[in-house]
Structures are given as structure tokens and as C-alpha cells.
């Protein structure tokens, strides 16, 4: 588990465009950087991220080694009904982590 900060509005009006922000504390080791022994540090990045709202895909990302440490994501979506936003990401150790946030739409 890595530390993640998620900013999702708790309430929204029907049809409102809302912004979702996510900051993941992650080294995003590119695999290109060499240690004191000349050997590269093994690649360790978050390679995919997926946001779903009540099971429906909102946004899906493939991430590559050029992305800096502690990646920050922001995207918008239209709030149509109340539900749960879930953000899931997978790193190079195949660790799957999911964060949830409830949004009340009225």
C-alpha cells in the first residue's frame, strides 16, 4: 500500500462537471537510473490506472517510465447520479490498490 490523496467533491448537482484529483506517493523508478555498482535500479512504476463510477469506466490510463515520482492526476466527469467512484492502479510488482469515494448527487 502506498499513500494516496484523493480529492472528490462529496456533493454535486445533477449534470455538474466535477473535478477529481489524485496524488499517489510513488517513486516511479524508471529502470534507467544506475546505482553505485553501475547496475540499473529495477523499474518500479505504476503502469496503469483506472477510474470507475458505479462500475462504469470513467478514465483509463497507461503510464510509462518518463512520468515523474509522486504522480498527480486530475480529470473531470459529469455527475449524473449518486454513486461510488473507485480508482484502481497497478504497479510493476502487480500490486493492485483501490481507493473509493462516495458522491451524493441531487
Amino acid at each position: 500500500m502506498v499513500r494516496a490523496l484523493l480529492n472528490v467533491p462529496k456533493r454535486a448537482r445533477v449534470g455538474e462537471i466535477i473535478e477529481i484529483r489524485l496524488l499517489i506517493s510513488h517513486p516511479m523508478e524508471s529502470g534507467q537510473r544506475r546505482g553505485p555498482n553501475g547496475q540499473p535500479y529495477p523499474r518500479d512504476i505504476i503502469h496503469s490506472l483506472r477510474a470507475e463510477f458505479d462500475g462504469e469506466l470513467v478514465v483509463e490510463l497507461d503510464l510509462y517510465p518518463a512520468i515523474a515520482a509522486n504522480p498527480f492526476f486530475a480529470f473531470t466527469m459529469q455527475a449524473e447520479h449518486s454513486g461510488t467512484l473507485s480508482l484502481t492502479w497497478i504497479d510493476d510488482h502487480d500490486t493492485v490498490q483501490t481507493e473509493h469515494a462516495q458522491i451524493e448527487v441531487a
Binding site: L5, N7, R21, L23, S25, N70, A74
Partner: protein
């Protein structure tokens, strides 16, 4: 040697047939960089006619101003005049530069004074705060949320706000991303304000929001915070969502991408760039800072203008008063060489920087720098940092050394 002025006046003379007027070097800006440079030029070659142009008749020094904020020191101790420079034969003009014509090598001033010609200029603009870089933080906002990053009225404003704050209040400090003036400054400030809060307002808290994960003397500061200010001082790094994205000076709120904090006192240190005169001289590049030769400190963009101090891209050298002082002396010697058509030697520059974690509790970092492939680079093994586990007696000594350093450098700079 033939000066440009004489060459233009007597274009038919291939070589000078009679004595020339003295070379004219004009220093713009009278902070640590400029005042040191003016004096060092006089020392390097008394034949050079040195002029210093500075808006303010009195300079208010930044090093030590965190102690003023914490009530440990009087602002009067930070103030220095230019009388000693004038007494040493430096022409001191108190005026503001409005334009620089690099082609004709003249400086125009806001006063009625005639334009000032130069053979070489030393530009010491310091930094400008970038208003609006943090949405909501403009010049107006600074009267509610002081930056106190230029010593003077802002320093006293932050001091009086801390004094007026009720016990149990929240102080928020926003530290910018690199590069900026005085890399350890925000952390010393957070430390000394925390010391004041512990003593005077023990229920108050300080939140240090940071646009970085790594900062100057980090291990020393963090060890000190754990020892001295647990429960009072909280540092929020960039990866913990510490980057301030907007402020509202009316509501006294400071926002990141993830939280909005209601502050009783907010000190916002905004992003910076080379000062106004560097911008109008055309010596700053698109980074906002000034690329220079690390040997002569001549601008890489405009010939005959040398730039030193906080305004430059100085490689590994920090933006500190001591670095400005070292660059000024190096630059003065290089200018004296260039005016005599000698080749300046590759320099070595020293920087030492003291910080206080609390009254009588200090530590330092030192480094020696030299040009490597056109960039000022720290010589490996040349400097170092105070040990993290130093005993109280050593930290008390370092605080004394810091005070002595201030006395020495201001004496060397202003006489």
C-alpha cells in the same frame, strides 16, 4: 587599452595617442552582491571609476530577519547605509533604473540625472516575487498574508501578526519550489516561529506547506523539529499534497489540491525570478533567471553586463548572501583583468550558511565551488554539513558563529 567612449569619440585614431579617462564600472543594486562588488572593484584597481546605483538610501538585510520575526532581534540591526562606500571613493547614486541601452552602454534613471555611461556593468537585481504565480497572491494580498521575503516592512508585519494572534491559532507557511532566494530560509522561519509559539502561545500550531519533498539541511531541521517542536510544527511535503495552489486573503484560507486551511497568520513565500532590472536589461532567459559565465559572471545574453547574486543561474551555488559576496569579489577581479586585457583565472568560490533551529541552537552547511564545463559545481568533499547528533554545546557555538558571520559579512559589504 582604449575605452569604448574614447574609441567612438576619436574613430580616426587606430591606437590611443594619449592617456584615457578611467574605465567606468557601474554597479546596479546595492545589496550584498552590489555593495561587495563596488568595494571589491575599488580594491582590485583603484584606477577604475566605480558608481553604485541603488534606489534605497538604507539597505535592510535578509539574513537574520527570521530572528526579527520571532522577536529575537531588532530590525534596526538589519539596516545598513552606503556612507562608507561613498567615503571610499565610490559614486553612490540613489535613483531607480528605468532603462538600459546595451548598444550605447548607458543607463537611464528615474531622476533628473543624466544617463549614466558604463564600460562594464555589474547588475545585482536580486529577486522579484512573481505575483499571481499562486492564484490569489498578488501585491495586495501580501498586506494580509506577508511574504516577508524582502526584509523591512513585511518582516515587521509578520512579526506584529504573530504577536496579535490568539493562543491556539494556526500559522501557515507556504514554501516554494526551487529555485528561490535563501533555500533554508522557510525552514529556519518555521523553526523560530515555532520557538516563539512554544514560549508564548503553547496551544498554537504551525503548518509548513511545501512544494518540495527535499530541502536544504533537511536532516538537521527535521531532527531539530522532532526534538523541539513535536505537536507544534507539521511539515507537509509535495508528495503529501503540500503544494499551495491558491490563497484567499479575505477569508485567510490557504488551499492545496486536497485541503483548504483556515489560517490565523499566513506567510506565503511565492515563486521568484531575477529582479526587474535584470528583466529590462534582457539578461534573464525564459527561466526568469540569468545565465552567466562562471568565470567572469558576464551575461551569456548581453555583453559587458555582469550579473551576480540571487538573480543568476549559479549551478550548485545557492542563492545566499555569502554566495553573492563570493561572486562579487570574483567578478570584480575578473572585470579588473578584462579592463587590462588580462585573461581572468578560473575561480573557486566559497559559501557558508548558518541556520537557527531555535535561539542559541544553530547549524551550518558549507561548500566550495568551481566552474566545470561552464557550470559552477561543488568540489567533492570540499564542504559539508553540521553533524545531526551534535551536542547542545556545539549547536550553541554554531549559533554564535552565525551571529559572528553576520557581523563579518555586513562589515565587509557595507564597511
Amino acid at each position: 587599452m582604449i575605452s569604448r567612449r574614447a574609441a567612438l569619440a576619436l574613430p580616426f585614431l587606430a591606437t590611443p595617442a594619449f592617456a584615457q579617462g578611467p574605465a567606468r564600472v557601474v554597479v546596479v543594486g546595492g545589496g550584498f552582491a552590489g555593495a561587495t562588488a563596488a568595494r571589491a572593484l575599488r580594491r582590485a584597481d583603484p584606477a577604475i571609476a566605480v558608481t553604485l546605483i541603488e534606489t534605497n538610501p538604507v539597505y535592510t538585510a535578509c539574513p537574520g530577519s527570521n530572528e526579527v520575526i520571532a522577536g529575537l532581534r531588532d530590525l534596526a540591526e538589519q539596516r545598513f547605509g552606503y556612507q562608507r562606500l561613498a567615503a571610499q571613493g565610490i559614486t553612490v547614486i540613489h535613483a531607480t533604473v528605468t532603462a538600459i541601452d546595451a548598444a550605447s552602454r548607458t543607463i537611464r534613471l528615474d531622476s533628473d540625472a543624466a544617463p549614466v555611461p558604463y564600460d562594464r556593468m555589474v547588475l545585482c537585481s536580486g529577486v522579484d516575487l512573481i505575483w499571481g504565480a499562486i492564484p490569489g497572491y498578488d501585491e495586495q494580498a501580501a498586506s494580509a498574508m506577508p511574504h516577508a521575503w524582502k526584509a523591512g516592512a513585511q518582516t515587521l508585519l509578520l512579526r506584529s501578526q504573530l504577536e496579535a494572534m490568539p493562543d491556539g491559532g494556526l500559522v501557515v507557511i507556504s514554501a516554494p519550489a526551487n529555485p528561490y532566494r535563501c533555500p533554508p530560509g522557510p525552514y529556519e522561519r518555521a523553526s523560530l516561529i515555532s520557538a516563539y509559539l512554544r514560549a508564548q502561545k503553547p496551544r498554537a500550531k504551525l503548518l509548513l506547506l511545501d512544494a518540495k519533498d527535499v530541502f536544504s539541511k533537511q536532516k538537521l531541521f527535521q531532527a531539530a523539529w522532532q526534538r523541539l517542536y513535536p505537536g507544534t510544527l507539521t511539515w507537509v511535503s509535495q508528495s503529501e499534497g503540500g503544494t499551495v495552489t491558491s490563497v484567499d486573503p479575505k477569508a485567510m484560507t490557504v488551499s492545496t489540491d486536497f485541503e483548504t486551511y483556515k489560517a490565523d497568520v499566513a506567510c506565503i513565500i511565492p515563486p521568484q525570478r531575477a529582479g526587474r532590472v535584470a528583466q529590462i536589461a534582457g539578461v534573464a532567459d525564459r527561466t526568469g533567471w540569468c545565465p552567466v559565465s562562471p568565470i567572469t559572471f558576464e551575461s551569456r545574453l548581453v555583453p559587458n553586463i555582469h550579473v551576480i547574486g540571487d538573480a543568476i543561474i549559479a549551478g550548485a551555488m545557492p542563492k545566499s548572501a555569502f554566495a553573492a559576496n563570493a561572486q562579487a569579489k570574483t567578478c570584480a577581479i575578473a572585470i579588473a583583468d578584462l579592463l587590462q586585457e588580462r585573461t581572468p583565472a578560473s575561480p573557486r568560490l566559497l559559501n557558508t550558511c548558518y541556520s537557527l533551529a531555535a535561539p542559541r541552537d544553530g547549524f551550518s552547511v558549507a561548500g566550495v565551488y568551481q566552474p566545470v564545463n561552464g557550470v559552477l559545481t561543488e568540489i567533492p568533499g570540499s564542504g559539508g554539513m553540521s553533524p545531526v547528533d551534535a551536542p547542545d554545546s556545539v549547536r550553541a557555538k554554531e549559533a554564535e558563529y552565525g551571529a559572528a558571520w553576520f557581523g563579518a559579512i555586513t562589515h565587509e559589504t557595507f564597511g
